[in-house]
Symmetry: C2
Subunit: 406 residues, 2 copies
Amino acid sequence: MTFHEIEGGVCAPKGFTAGGLHCGVRKNKTKKDLAMIACSVPCVSAAMYTQNKVFGAPIAVTRENLVNGVAQAVVCNSGNANTCNADGVSKARAMCRLTGEALGLSEKDVIVASTGVIGQTLELEPIAEGIGRLSRQLSENGGRDAAEAIMTTDTIAKEVAVEFELDGRPVRIGAIAKGSGMIHPNMATMLSFITTDAKIEKAPLELALREVVRDSYNMVSVDGDTSTNDMVAIMASGLAGNAAITGEGPALETFIAALRRVCVRIAKLLAGDGEGATKLLECHVLGAPDVKTAKIVAKSVICSSLFKTAMFGADANWGRIACAIGYADAQFDINRMDVSLSSLKGEIAVCRDGFGVDFSEEKAKEVLLEKEIHIRIDLKQGDGEATAWGCDLTYDYVKINGDYRT
Amino acid sequence: MTFHEIEGGVCAPKGFTAGGLHCGVRKNKTKKDLAMIACSVPCVSAAMYTQNKVFGAPIAVTRENLVNGVAQAVVCNSGNANTCNADGVSKARAMCRLTGEALGLSEKDVIVASTGVIGQTLELEPIAEGIGRLSRQLSENGGRDAAEAIMTTDTIAKEVAVEFELDGRPVRIGAIAKGSGMIHPNMATMLSFITTDAKIEKAPLELALREVVRDSYNMVSVDGDTSTNDMVAIMASGLAGNAAITGEGPALETFIAALRRVCVRIAKLLAGDGEGATKLLECHVLGAPDVKTAKIVAKSVICSSLFKTAMFGADANWGRIACAIGYADAQFDINRMDVSLSSLKGEIAVCRDGFGVDFSEEKAKEVLLEKEIHIRIDLKQGDGEATAWGCDLTYDYVKINGDYRT
């Protein structure tokens, strides 16, 4: 199986166009705040949503619209989450209706999303005007604009696309995502829209999304806060011309591997662009009794404020890793663990069989001053393995969030 | 029932002396690093320990020594946690032996604790010398020195004492504590040593400690990191002359109420002195289906990095409270909740029946610029109530922890 990374983001797969512009939800006119993705044909679609009991109105409306597993467009604004607003659901429905009218689709075939401040009334007027204007600007080159229009505190637009083969035909998967703070997906994800031209039925598409999200988006944490508006949605146009994937088998496996490649890339982009982050942290746990335990341990380390802050300071204070392993909510033996830290500058072992080992502080500093740090934890008691991604905790995280609304 | 707050900390109850000095575990000679508390008679004693699977050697040794429920002294160093060290247990035992020899006690009657950096070899020589010197300096005025000697990143020494009556006789409870970072006790606590002259048997003493810790220390979070060395220990000298408390009844209830008063005060001191904190946050949840749910919700809010950072910025971004309530791991209805924020400067309602309400940003700023902020969440569906304490997340937290070891 070979995958090629290609350009184009969500517009790389056949049938899709996209765009993004500033409509006025945000005061700052240089920031795009409305994104749209559309397909030339109805798409088999699936989505996963936040597990937060407080969820945005668009989550409720998209869930209704996707009951039949069909969608043909996405509309998403940034700057306002349309959450905890008395009239939120009617406004989210209006966004679908306006998008449907502009594109000549049923409002039920529109996926709607919002991201931004919670609990502030969403003004519909600028969005209504923006939807009309944006629907006439959609193009095969618009993926980047859409990626930019869904950004909040993100510092980089996030898009990925890959190409692979099924039945001798090229098949593509593309994705955009946003997410920088309030990132700790729980059985769901931050906002991410994925497109593909693979021909695939609803059930295997849902299965693929569930399986891949579990190992990618759900293994990212920036600050431990699970957002009210998390959503990942995938739309499959079927225009690649492969034999339809109807259930388990080699074709679905290939599709899942390609989707995993896309989502893990996006997950790392999200973690590395966490609010205020200067470093991407990747924690790989192996030798755990099972995969579930490995995941819990990897996430516990990635979520530790003390460890994250030490990484910002390039301080090999590995006691904080040991501490976070120890309070991970799972049953395992902590007396055999080996821990090491590595980067492009090399590797340092800090713990062997549960006890500290001497290391050069100078070398440790050199390793930890890099932009991407890998933490390897071998529990030496089984075959369970997992990887989680996060970022350091910095002055800028505090600065960004001390006064987010202004 | 009346309680009077009195001076003296752990030396307020009859029979106890204490002291603290610099022995050399720390490089900085102006910082005390060795504390001792002793009683003139053997004490009925109980303790609770960290639930972290990685726990310090002193935790293992104290647990052994307290099997019979009797102790007569506490020895505690700061600057080194004596955790994840191959020879940690033998050194913790040596600290007990040396303390026992200096005070003329069995080493089994000594409670030993350490706090500081994890995974660095503990040098016994300075401690051995210090124990000898300190044992000759113990006095009824030494509670404050002991409180200072157990501090790590704490900015204030923490001691509390109360007096109340049992059987017409004055009874006293005193406590010292340390804890500023790595604070998220889980069924146990940070370091706290409590003394009392109440006459009370082992079983009711253990029951009282368990019940009170649950509602005080275990409801504090500074950074979500449960330490490897958490311990709370209580020693009862029995010298007050009350009729022995042997089981449930009004006397035990009075004792528990007094102990709660002491521990809640300490909990608030710990939260307010969280690493880098500028504000004490108190979250009161009421109207929950049950107490357990109320606790989970209160802690979820207190632990949210986004909410903590907003409080640092005096920003009434209540969507972050709603978000943290929503991802709390419990079952309840979020559609009826009322949320308000208050301080000495007044109260602002921000959410009613689950939806945002208009409020004056100017007034909100005035309220939130105070040092102590109360968050009131009424879920309006039952009688469950709980309070949790925490602090804001600030630049100084990042600064302190970016390079903790140097």
